[in-house]
Amino acid sequence: MNVKQQDKLATGVLYTIASLIILVLASLLAFILIQGLPRVTWHFLTTPARSFEAGGGIGIQLFNSFYLLVLAMLISVPLSLGAGIYLSEYAKKNWLTSLIRTSIEILSSLPSVVVGLFGFLIFVIQFKFGFSILSGALVLTVFNLPLLTRNVEESLASISSMQREAGLALGLSRWETVTRIIVPEALPGITTGMILGAGRVFGEAAALIYTAGQSAPALDFTNWNPFYIASPLNPLRPAETLAVHIWKINSEGIMPDAVAVSAGASAVLIIAVLLFNLSARWFGQHLYQKMTSSGKKGA
């Protein structure tokens, strides 16, 4: 076999593997959507679930998923920005920072069910937050923070050190250089990572089963006072999310239309996660163009 034939063979093998993967993914997606989409109506998206009769929706679960997501991101985005900026721009190379880096790496590879049990012991039991949005948001933060931090650090580290020197040589402080020059240039990468992280959080079930809980009490969408017990915003109420709901129906659902509800919920979940991924790409590219080529005022 000569080099040319080898090349052809190798290319052929790679193409086959790639198309196999795409085929599996596409059929999976098609299966879920074909099964689930017929069920997805406005009614399905807005009504509460029913435990014993047919015709339940996923309204509360959907709201819970988004609310938890927002809370979790509100906590983890600033923390990961701070930690990532510190690690990339300020931390000296020594045993302490390398220990921190290693810990973050280990944390980011922990299975989510382990993180969930940790959250159960700490937030639910120890801190007595109970099965609640708050416990869920905190555990999602623990779950998401290591990855977000690494993403921020790596996005910043990918900006050439010549840019930092350029800023410092103009008499800018390190903080100004980082926040005004380096972070804006890294923003597309950072944003993409954040949105992908949001998608991961949105689809997460295992970490939430024992923290945000498996029940979705009825909500009173007319009262938004966070201290009111049935308020959608109350952070101390249990909150089953969409992903947990799917798991729940499939393991112990007894409503007559359990299969259809699960399929519909799965379709909604998949579409949401897809939207996160697509918007991450679009947003990243859009931001990159905006940051690099527009005549936006720098102040």
């Binding site: 008499g171 800018l172 527009s294």
Partner: protein, 269 residues
């Protein structure tokens, strides 16, 4: 490589009456970890003149230049000892505000490094941070500095386009304009023309010759013709030591040190 005697040096000094000194170093040492790369350099740079630093690759030119505005602070392993005198102040002392100092001692790097912002913002960014706010004043600053850098005619219609879309030579001139916009006292340039084509190079050289009227320039260069063309004084570095420092014409016609002679006549190493 021939072994040259590193203890035999010939360094020009100036008396206060003869020449005002903008910046000087006294017994400056720089080490990266355990490796000492600058081994006690004492030089005086006269005001409103161009001083060139020449020498072979690895002789410590960049290391020395970067010490002058404390850019080596950014390298964790670097240790700079000795005095750097600026306006009667030793700016190598730990309690110096390096950010304030760098407004007075600017730097242009070997590879162009414009910000990923528009041409206009590249120039106005730092001055704005330092408190210049008026739009007219900023517009004026952009025009003057771009003209000083010989770039105005090429970019005056695209000021709000990305600086990254410029050619390498244009980017470098933008970086010079950006440094000049800070109105520094002293401008340090590390091989500013090494990545440029001959035409851009000569534009940059003209620019530097004009800047000399208002600024003190210290320029590292590999290009001996360039040193001979534009500089008033030249220092020759070898293995971390300044072996010779004198008027440029003297360095290139009758150097006092054998190593300098070999280097400028191309018989080095």
């Amino acid at each position: 490589m021939k072994d040259y005697d590193l203890t035999k040096t010939s360094i020009k000094t100036f008396t206060a009456a003869e020449q005002e000194i903008a910046l000087s170093t006294e017994d400056l040492h720089v080490a990266y970890g355990d490796h000492e790369q600058i081994k006690g350099v004492t030089l005086q740079f006269p005001r409103y003149k161009i001083s060139a630093i020449i020498g072979s690759s690895g002789s410590g030119k960049s290391t020395y230049l970067r010490s002058l505005n404390r850019m080596n602070d950014e390298i964790q392993t670097a240790r700079v000892t000795g005095k750097i005198m600026y306006r009667g102040l030793d700016i190598n002392r730990p309690n110096i505000d390096v950010f304030e100092m760098r407004k007075h001692i600017g730097m242009v790097f070997q590879r162009p490094n414009p910000f990923a912002k528009s041409i206009y913002d590249n120039i106005t960014f730092a001055p704005q941070r330092h408190g210049i706010k008026g739009k007219q004043e900023l517009d004026q600053l952009v025009e003057t500095t771009l003209q000083q850098a010989g770039l105005w005619n090429e970019v005056k219609d695209t000021l709000h386009k990305s600086a990254l879309a410029l050619s390498g030579g244009q980017q470098q001139r933008l970086c010079i304009a950006r440094a000049v916009a800070m109105k520094p006292d002293i401008l340090l340039l590390d091989e500013p023309a090494s990545a440029l084509d001959p035409i851009s190079t000569s534009v940059v050289e003209d620019t530097l010759a004009q800047l000399k009227e208002h600024y003190t320039l210290i320029i590292v260069t590999h290009n001996m013709q360039q040193a001979a063309r534009i500089s008033d004084y030249t220092a020759f570095f070898h293995q971390g030591v300044a072996l010779e420092y004198a008027a440029t014409s003297k360095i290139f016609t009758k150097p006092a040190i054998q190593a300098t002679d070999d280097y400028v006549s191309g018989h080095f190493g």
